[in-house]
Amino acid sequence: MPIHIIAEKCTGCRLCIKACPLNAIKIIEKKAVIELDLCNLCGACVDACKLNAIILEKTTRHTLDATRYSGVWVFAEQKKGKVQSVAFELLFKGRQLAEKLNTDLSAVILGEKLEEEIQELIWHGADNVYVVEDKQLANFQDEPYTNALVELIKKYKPGIVLCGATSIGRALISRVAVRIKTGLTADCTGLDIDSDSAILLQTRPAFGGNIMATIITPNHRPQMATVRHKVFPEGSTDMKRKGKIIREKFDGRLLLSRTKLLDIIEEVESTVNLTEADIIVSGGRGMGGAQNFKILEELAYVLGGAMGASRAAVDSDWMAYSHQVGQTGKTVCPKIYIACGISGQIQHLVGMQSSKIIVAINKDPDAPIFKVATYGIVGDLFEIVPALTKRFREILKK
């Protein structure tokens, strides 16, 4: 087994037990023992042990010549010919990484008739833009997009590839990573370069968000990561920036698809996309009924925000599932999240706790939501919310 404890060194200090996220370590006769059926070799105990008594061995069979791979790439997702803002956020972060590595930042865009968007990518910091235009690529489809991106990666050998953790990004990049047989880290909240090894340090929440893990891909290239929308800021544009445009054409066979897109339907109800919204007004069990959401709707309208809901509100059919925030719903990261009558169960908190400002309105002073709220209001939401709406309407003149 690749993990074992050196019994002579172990003093039974229990530090490893505290560190183990899987509860896989026990003390038997004053020595730590790892229950191998539970262990997933995450290495948390190895870090925690001050006596170097835990050994985790990994054998790598092939040696990688990392110098053959260079540059930071950002997959620039487009919909209806428009680059999605997550791509600009990645270019902002990618720029910092490229500077630390003293290398180029490139964007990759697949689609049809992309001229203006290419400029936009350069203004947002791309030194190079790799472009594949083909009518087969006009809208996202798993197979042609995967094939095109795989070919580009094989040809130009980037050191790092970043992609938005969107519904398109997650489907696409998972396939690409498997085809290239490299590592992929989902939903990173932090990206940095290790100054000694020049390796990408990918930090993400693990085990439900209460533990952070830093993950590396030491022996495979490119190093690939996805990042959720709004985790990084967009950065400014410089319309004087110049960049290189590299166009590629692929054989039609490479762009064949076993799925066929028949129609795209946009739903009016979710016009203000929850994950895009800068302000979210959200309601929970404390709202008492579907009709009471009207007061939240008015506040959201005045603030130009979107409507959210807790699982309790959705399960009671007060709001549609598309509004649900939390573990089984959407993860949001707005500037302001206003939680009304939401107690703040852990499943809800994991979906919204990275919001910049959290306002909580709740009758119960002991509600867990107040533990994460920037501004907590103990009081009757049916009084406070309409008063807030009225005051904001005056100020914002709506």
């Binding site: 990994k58 891909t217 076993r258 895009e276 089984t328 103990v378 009081g379």
Partner: protein
């Protein structure tokens, strides 16, 4: 129509408590359940079987106790179960995991459809489903919210997007990952539970599925965890109580520059 459903056993988060001293999850005594997203995949497979007939197989990779999750899936109506359990699988990242599951599915070939939940509630990566379809070189549709129609060699499905949904026709065999909107999973019937209790769960190790030892477990995983740490907990801020008009005035003052 033969269907394979891939599931994962995860800790039940409604029971998760947090140790205030270390800000880490307390896992002691936490019940293991089927990943909630996978229950929709199980339900959809049962419904398709009820409409079209055929065989359904549920498959999971995990420690020996993941057998419980497979029995629960059989209680909901799936026919057969395979548990992929081997200490050599420990430490597998999403590349190695999707490889292992795809090796097992090769052994179960032919099939028409593979169904997975959109992601697991503990890891949240959404990478294993697409990984499996890539290893098997079959098409995929992620975030499926409705299967409209199934023909001999195709399925017509709705795929959820950020703005609404898309209608796609996908050639079979294919892999679909499904979202909550697709159905409401049933409660297992007493008869189903009795049957599941007696049913056989096949246990396969790495050699049973001809998995290459260099591509599984820690050695077969390109990603490596180098550090695990507890972020400082988000601190509660100011609390306001008292007259509504005072509270509203203060709050508007604090927020107005952010809007």
């Amino acid at each position: 129509m033969d269907i394979i459903v891939c599931i994962k056993q995860v800790p039940e988060t409604t029971q998760v408590r947090i140790n205030p001293a270390t800000n880490t999850l307390i896992r002691e005594g936490v019940k293991a359940i089927i990943n909630p997203f996978d229950t929709y995949a199980i339900e959809e497979a049962v419904r398709l079987k009820e409409r079209f007939g055929g065989k359904t197989t549920v498959i999971s990779m995990g420690p020996p106790q993941a057998e419980e999750a497979l029995r629960e899936a059989m209680a909901m109506g799936l026919d057969e179960a395979v548990l992929l359990t081997d200490r050599a699988f420990a430490g597998s990242d999403t590349l190695a995991t999707s490889y292992i599951v795809s090796c097992a599915i090769e052994k179960l070939t032919p099939f028409d459809l593979i169904l997975c939940g959109k992601q697991a509630s503990d890891g949240d990566t959404a990478q294993v489903g697409p990984g499996i379809s890539t290893h098997l070189d079959i098409p995929q549709v992620t975030y499926v919210k409705k299967i409209r129609e199934v023909g001999n060699s195709y399925a017509l499905v709705e795929r959820m997007t950020e703005e609404g949904y898309e209608i796609l026709k996908v050639a079979l065999p294919a892999l679909l990952t499904v979202v909550k909107e697709i159905n409401e999973p049933r409660i297992p019937s007493l008869r189903g539970m009795m049957r599941a209790k007696r049913a056989q769960v096949l246990c396969w190790k790495a050699q049973d599925i001809s998995a290459d030892s260099g591509r599984i477990g820690l050695d077969g995983s390109p990603t490596q965890v180098v550090k695990i740490f507890t972020p400082p907990p988000r601190k509660g801020g100011q609390i306001f109580e008292g007259e509504t008009s005072d509270i509203v005035e203060k709050l508007v003052e604090l927020l107005k520059d952010q809007i």
